[in-house]
Symmetry: C2
Subunit: 440 residues, 2 copies
C-alpha cells in the first residue's frame, strides 16, 4: 500500500539544500499532495497531516543519478576485470544482441529502480533502448526518470532504421508531456557511434522541443585520440563545430578534456556528468573533477550502468567524487561535504533544468525526499550532518523515501510492488544468460 | 545470547580464499568449538551440529582491518574538510588533550568494534593509547585485535614518561600471551614523532618478543620533504639505517615512496598497509598501490581512524583499492576481484603473521567467518561471487558473523552486548565534546 496522505514529518535534521543551506534541527516538513507545503523548526510545525516522527534521522532531498543504463542491472558482474574493448565487443554487445528486448528492459529497469529508490535516488537519467519500457518500469516502481532513447548510427534492437529514432523521441516527448514521473531527453551515444547527420538532427530537435541533450564524451584516451585522427579535432571541438555546444548539452564522462576544450566548455556553460566509479573500474582514468570545479564548470554525478560499476549507489559516487577532488588536488578543503551533497541534489536538478520543482526542500517544490536513519554505529556520533551524510552514511541507511508525496519506501521496504518477484525475474534472466555463456 | 554450539552452516557460496581459490557452491562449513572442522560441497556435508541454512548467501573469511585508531570514532566528523595541519593542531590534538582517558578509549573502541563486526571485520590492528582498554573493549564485543600502544617521543596521556612505553608493551605481550582475542604489536608513531632512540628500542623489542612493528610512513609529501631536510634521506632510508627494515615492519600509508625506497622495500620484503580513503580525504594523495603490486610488494588495507575516513568499512577500502589500481594504471584487468578480496583476508593475515589460523576458510583454522546476504537488489543477479562481493556488496549486507566459533552477529544484530547502550554512551561523549567546542 502506498501512503498518499498528507504528512507531517519530523526529524533531528531537515537538510533543505536551499541556496542558503538552511538546516532545521530538529525540523519538520509538511507535505500536501505531491508538494511540500512548508518546512521549518519542529517548534513551528503546523498541527495537520499524518505525523511521522523519525527521531534521530535526517530528511534530505531525493538524490539524482544523472547517468545510467538502468536495464544493464541484468548484466551486473557478468564480465569484469577485462579490457574495455574486450568487455564491450566480446561480452556486453554479444549478450545485448542476443537478449535485448522490451521484456529485458522492463525487468532490468524495475530491478534498477528498486535498488535506486531504496538507496534514496528519486530521479535517474537513462540512456538505453526501448525507453518506453524504462518509463513504464519507473512508473511501476514510483521513481522519476529522464528517458533517453539511444541514438546510434547503426540499427539497434529498438530502432531498426537509425533515422526513425527521432520520430520516436518526438512521440515520447508528446506522450509524456504532462507526466508526473517521466521526462524526455535526447541521448546521443557518442561522437564515434552517432553519425554527423544524427548529431545535426539532435540540435534541431533540442531547439524544437526544448529538450536537453546528453552524450558520452572523452571517456577513454583512445576515443579522444581517434577523434583527433579522424576529425583533426578533439570531440568537444567537433561537437562545437556541429553546433551542439550551444544547445542544452551535458557531456558524460569527460575524463580526458583536451587543452582547447576548456574555453569552449566555459564559453557555452556546458555541464559535465561525471561517473567516477565507472571510470576507475573500466580503467578509463581519473576524472579531473577538481579542475572542472576550479574552472566554474557545473558537475553532476552518475553511476553509469551496473555492468560497469557494479551498483547504482549515489552515496558511493558522491563520496568518491569528494575523495578524488581532495586526493588529486592534495587539498582536503576542496569539495567540502555540503557542496558534494549539492552535486547530487540541487546542482543536478539545475543541470537537468528541473530545479524549479526538484533538488531541494522548499515550499511549493515536489515532495521528493529521503529519510536517513542515524541510529547506526557508523553514523554515531553526528557532529555535522553533512559530514555524516557524505563521509559515513550509506545507501542502506535510507529508511523511507517519498516521491511526489508518495511514500514509496517505508522502513526500508518498497511499498509499490513485490520486490521478491522482481528479484526472481532478474535471476531467471541471469539463468538464461549464463546458459548462453555455457557457464552453468 | 552468544551461540557457541557446534554449527553446520550452508550457503549458495562458500568462498574459502585458500591458495587455490576453492569455491564450494552450494557449500557447507562445519564448526567445532573455535575452529573449522571441515568444509565442502553441501552434498558432502556431515550430519552434525546445529544446522543453519543461509540460502542465497556467501560465507567468506572474516575481513581484516590492518590499521585504525578505533577509539577515534568518538571524534568522527568533528572537524572535516580542513588542511591536515589545521585539522590535527587546532582540532584533533586539543580535543584529545582534553578528553583522552581510559573511559574515552573504552567507549570509542566499543563503538568501533560494533561497527566493524557488523560490517564483517573480525580482526583489527590498532594504534592509540590505553591499549589495555582497547583489548578489553574488543573482548567485550567479541572481535580480535592487535593492540598497539602508540610510541611517541613526548609524554602522552597513557605514557607520561616516553621511556616507560616499552615496559608497558612488554607487560602487554606477557598479559595476552595466550589470549584468544588479543595479540600485541609495536606501534611506533612515525619518524617525525618517535625518537631515534625509541626507534632503536623497537628493533630490540621486536626481536626479543618476536612482535611485528607498525609505523606511519610517507603519508604526506610534506613529511617526506622534512625527512630529507632533517636526515638527508627519505623516511624509508632513515628506517633502513636504523635497522628497522630488517625487522617484521609494516609501513602504513606510503603514499609518497621515493626513488631509492623501492629497492629497500623489495630487498627486505617490507609490507605496506594502505589506507586509501583516509589518504584521499585528507588530501595526502593517491597511494600508488598499482606499483606496489607490480613490484611484488605485499599490500593490505586499513581504514585509518574514523576522524579521517569517516567510517570503518573494509568493503569500501577494498573497492577503492581496486578502483584506484585500475584507474591510475588505465588497466581494468589489474587487481581483479578475487585478488582484492585476498588483500583484506588471507594476504592481510599473512602480513600480520597470523595466516596459520586466520584469513581463509580451511579445516583446522579458526572459525572467523562472515555471512553475506545476497537477497538484495544491488547483489542481484550474481554471475561471479567475487565480482558481487568486491564491486556491488556493502557492509550492510553482512547478516551473520562468527569469531572463534562464536556467533557474534546474528541477523545483523550484535549478540554480545547491548548496542543501543554503546551508541548512547558515544552520544554522551559527543555532547560533552560539542559543549567544549561551543558548538551547541
Amino acid at each position: 500500500m502506498v501512503d498518499t496522505d498528507h504528512f507531517l514529518l519530523t526529524a533531528r535534521y531537515v537538510v533543505s539544500m536551499d541556496e542558503e543551506g538552511t538546516l532545521y534541527s530538529p525540523g519538520y516538513v509538511a507535505i500536501q499532495g505531491s508538494r511540500i507545503k512548508s518546512l521549518g523548526l519542529v517548534d513551528d510545525a503546523p498541527d495537520e497531516g499524518k505525523r511521522i516522527d523519525y527521531g534521530n534521522a535526517a530528511i534530505i532531498p531525493g538524490l539524482i543519478n544523472s547517468h545510467t543504463h538502468a536495464a544493464m542491472t541484468l548484466l551486473r558482474g557478468v564480465a569484469d576485470d577485462l579490457a574495455l574493448d574486450d568487455w564491450l565487443e566480446n561480452h556486453i554487445w554479444p549478450l545485448e544482441a542476443k537478449f535485448l528486448s522490451p521484456e529485458f528492459v522492463r525487468a532490468g529497469t524495475k530491478l534498477a529502480a528498486i535498488e535506486m529508490l531504496k538507496g534514496g535516488t528519486t530521479l535517474f537519467a537513462d540512456m538505453y533502448f526501448f525507453e518506453d519500457e524504462v518509463a513504464a518500469a519507473a512508473k511501476d516502481v514510483g521513481i522519476r526518470v529522464l528517458i533517453g532513447e539511444g541514438i546510434l548510427a547503426f540499427p539497434t534492437v529498438s530502432a531498426k532504421e537509425p533515422g526513425k529514432v527521432f520520430d520516436h523521441i518526438r512521440n515520447q516527448a508528446e506522450k509524456y508531456r504532462d507526466d508526473e514521473f517521466v521526462r524526455v531527453h535526447i541521448a546521443a551515444h557518442s561522437t564515434y557511434a552517432t553519425s554527423e547527420d544524427q548529431l545535426g538532427k539532435c540540435v534541431g530537435l533540442s531547439e524544437e522541443l526544448n529538450l536537453p541533450i546528453k552524450i558520452h564524451c572523452a571517456e577513454s584516451r583512445k576515443e579522444v585520440q581517434e577523434s583527433i585522427e579522424k576529425h583533426d579535432r578533439s570531440q568537444v571541438a567537433y561537437l562545437n563545430d556541429l553546433g551542439l555546444l550551444d544547445t542544452q548539452i551535458r557531456l558524460v564522462h569527460m575524463v580526458w578534456p583536451q587543452d582547447g576544450d576548456w574555453d569552449l566548455l566555459k564559453r557555452d556553460n556546458v555541464s559535465v556528468v561525471s561517473c567516477p566509479q565507472s571510470n576507475l573500474k573500466l580503467g578509463a582514468g581519473i576524472p579531473p573533477i577538481a579542475r572542472y570545479l576550479d574552472e566554474g564548470i557545473r558537475v553532476s554525478l552518475g553511476t553509469d550502468g551496473a555492468a560497469s560499476n557494479n551498483n547504482l549507489d549515489m552515496w558511493e559516487e558522491m563520496r568518491l567524487a569528494a575523495f578524488l577532488v581532495k586526493g588529486t588536488s592534495l587539498d582536503p578543503t576542496k569539495l567540502p561535504a555540503r557542496q558534494a551533497l549539492r552535486m547530487v541534489t540541487i546542482d543536478a536538478a539545475r543541470i537537468w533544468g528541473m530545479d524549479e520543482g526538484l533538488g531541494s526542500l522548499e515550499p511549493g517544490k515536489k515532495a521528493d525526499m529521503v529519510v536517513v536513519d542515524l541510529n547506526k554505529p557508523h553514523t554515531t556520533p553526528t557532529y555535522d550532518i553533512y559530514s555524516t551524510l557524505v563521509y559515513a552514511a550509506s545507501a542502506a541507511d535510507v529508511s523511507d523515501v517519498f516521491v511526489a508525496g508518495h511514500r514509496v519506501v517505508k522502513e526500508a521496504k518498497i511499498t509499490t510492488l513485490d520486490e521478491e518477484s522482481v528479484l526472481g525475474e532478474a535471476r531467471d534472466w541471469a539463468e538464461r544468460i549464463m546458459q548462453e555463456r555455457g557457464n552453468v
